[in-house]
């Protein structure tokens, strides 16, 4: 059974048109992450939540926002997508700090046209 679910798997959006990617989890984990992964590159951490505490990476553009309305759901909002935002977006969850492993969803492939 899928434990971290990302919808949709593939998303096409127009340049400048706001888009929202969603992630849900059935693991009841405290931590939820959003990563951006461009072709042949490492996943880059955009931000993460520990429960409701939001942690933004210093180099995450303001164009990227996130919401976590409850434990199970987390959203990534891109306010004005540019061509450079085309990437795979990965959501992951973790039980907590330190030793806890991260569980990843299948990812959402975002195309900007």
């Amino acid at each position: 059974d899928a434990m971290v679910i990302q919808n949709p798997r593939y998303q096409v959006t127009q340049f400048g048109k706001p888009v929202t990617l969603s992630c849900s989890q059935t693991l009841n984990h405290n931590v939820m992450y959003w990563y951006q992964q461009k072709s042949s590159q490492a996943p880059k951490l955009l931000f993460h939540y520990y429960d409701k505490d939001f942690n933004n990476e210093a180099d995450t553009p303001d164009n990227f926002q996130s919401r976590r309305p409850n434990t199970s759901f987390c959203f990534l909002d891109i306010r004005s997508p540019g061509l450079g935002d085309a990437a795979m977006y990965l959501c992951a969850t973790s039980r907590g700090r330190g030793a806890a492993e991260a569980f990843f969803g299948q990812g959402t492939r975002l195309t900007v046209v």
């Binding site: 490492a42 973790s94 030793a99």
Partner: protein
């Protein structure tokens, strides 16, 4: 802050040959180390993790890794690879007192018949 270096961007190998994928980390605090595998257009799947104790860690699909504190390394090995092992492999680190999971740049393992 923690960081991870994967020295090899690509590793070509013939089927049934042994393979080693290299990973070095840096951290001023105790760390937890992970190896993940990513197949095309998929999320990341945990292969194995080092938390503490025995420095030799066994994972899924016949992979193992050895933690070497003096050399700050966590190299991944498999004694005999299969075509199905062709994928991208990421080393990741998390400091003991943080939520953040940081990835290396990845190593593309290509297994040839």
């Amino acid at each position: 802050a923690q960081s991870v270096t994967q020295l090899d961007s690509q590793v070509p190998v013939f089927e049934e040959a042994p393979v080693e994928l290299r990973c070095n980390y840096s951290s001023s605090v105790s760390v937890y180390l992970f190896w993940y595998v990513q197949y095309p257009n998929q999320g990341l799947q945990l292969l194995l993790k080092y938390l503490s104790g025995s420095t030799l860690v066994k994972g899924i699909n016949g992979f193992e890794a050895e933690f070497n504190k003096s050399q700050t390394s966590f190299h991944l090995r498999k004694p005999s690879v299969h075509i199905s092992d062709t994928a991208e492999y990421f080393c990741a680190v998390r400091g003991g007192n943080t939520d953040k999971l940081i990835f290396g740049t990845g190593t593309r393992l290509q297994v040839f018949p």
